[in-house]
Amino acid sequence: MTDDMLLEVRDLTTDFEMKRGTVHAVIDMSFSVAKGEVLAIVGESGSGKSVTSLSVMGLLQPPGRVVRGEILYKGKDLLALSKHEMRDIRGNHISMIFQEPMTSLNPVLTIEDQLTESIRTHMKLDKHAAAARAIDMLHLVGIPSPEKRIKDYPHQMSGGMRQRVMTAIALSCDPDLLIADEPTTALDVTIQAQILALINELRDKIGMAVLLITHDLGVVAETADRVVVMYCGQVVEQATAAQVFERPMHPYTLGLLESIPTMEDTEVDEPLYMIPGMVPNPLNMPRGCAFAARCARRMDRCVSEMPPLYAAEDRKLRCFLFDPEAGEEARS
């Protein structure tokens, strides 16, 4: 099993040392991505999804700092690598696409400059070969007449086109893992669908794994194999996508799914469900379960104790409802 694992993150804890105190942005996060798999990390803004991806890429900016944990890529701990070795991993082995296609391309360089840059750095190709590969990549991501468009500047392209170019750059050195940090958030729905379809298609073609960071459960449903639900820097539920959507078990996941407007079985007058309350202040986290204050099924011990990650059935859940030692009465 472990041999198939491309990326294994164990007990990753990332802190931000602020003047007013320390924010634990990611706490004891563990997950793994197998070869060719799409793993989605889901959570609301500030839940630590992006910090997780930046930690994996080694791109955390101060005051952010990984304080604990291991990030194993093909068995190698990325945290132990030198800056130079890490640069070789980035782009070549692990690549990333960002949320904002409008600002992710350098306005003063042509598409060709930006595409060939990583190709030349990592694949050691000469100018002509790199340009040829760049055109192939644009073709792969579905940009019409790539020989012409490659001379364009980013401002000559639409948002969807730019996200395709970003994807082309990210994939140009055949990475084994693509981290997609909200790749579709800034795009309108039709383009969203195209980009997701593209990522799926490329995964099948190239066989790369995808770590998909998103808050959009619709995106998860369309692409992910497995799902990690995050809340306040912690994993609260980890399961296959099918399990999550068919039978969500953690109260937070349940709340998330109920907050999505549906076309069917909704009375017109009925307001949309909303998880009550607010995300706790990261500088002043409650002692017990971070979700306790907002939880409909809160018990006494939730407020005083932090629930561990229980293995329930074939998923993982951070909730006392699934404590195998607790009596059946606690659950009802």
Binding site: R87, M96, F98, S104, V108, G160, A197
Partner: protein, 328 residues
Amino acid sequence: MDWPTAPAPGTAPDQPSESLIADEAMALGEVLPAGQFPEEDETFHEKPENQWLEMWNALIANRAAMVSLFFIGFLVLVAVFGSYLTPYNPIETNMANTLKFPSAQHWFGTDQLGMDIFSRVIAGTRVSLTVGLLAVSIALTVGVILGAIAGYAGGWVDTVIMRVMDMMLAVPSILLAITLMAALGKGIDKAVIAIGLVSIPEYARIVRGSFLSIKENDYVAAARVVGNSPLRIIFRHVLPNSLSVIIVRGTLGISSAVLDTAALGFLGMGVQPPQAEWGDMLGRARGLIFQAPYALLFPGMAITATVLAFNLLGDGLRDAFDPKARVK
């Protein structure tokens, strides 16, 4: 929307990945006719004007900037070919012919040593422009490097560099230049170094500020993601984006360097006599303001016109670089 409403059917049959995407999009319930991938119309893809060409057009439309540019071009010609244009030797004294009012023989008159002021103003052009350009080059090179490091690295590196810059800014630049000259000794080459050194903080500040905002852009993170080294990111990804700020600041900087040169000359610290320099000419003639105002008027006008031209050109460049300030 980014493509025209009616994409021509069959525009992409030879591109399987596109039709596949269209099919997938269909399957996801999106409104895309089968087999039609939204192709961007060629009319959307006319080679648009080059960014620099657009700027140049905006600059041409600015009359004050264009007049300044021509005047600066004229000054450069005068500086280069000055020795062929002077009717008299600019350093030849003629004690029989002192303080003559402007006339057909001496267009701008003569000074208290009988030297031809017109010839001296022409000869002084070379000094002022050379010192201005060289001093700005020094300040720009050092300032851009320091500012880039401070802005990109941040943290304690930024603090150390910028506090040193603040210390330099705390002393009036001309006073600092005079102090430096006192340490280095007289001479035009020393003036270049002094003026160059004291204007470093201005450039360091402006480049740092521009780096601070540019490095937050996703494309800088993206450049890091593909495994670029910090130096490459600084010079290839960030610096070209702050070039407009640097060019504008540099142009305005030439005018203040010309002014500083004149000030040092006025105080007798620039060129060695009898070499001609505008500030030095003013300084020597300052006691004669009532007797022979022309001895101050012409070198003074030369300084004013040169400074004004570089200022107006700098303003014009700033407007040309700012797309929002461009008038349609």
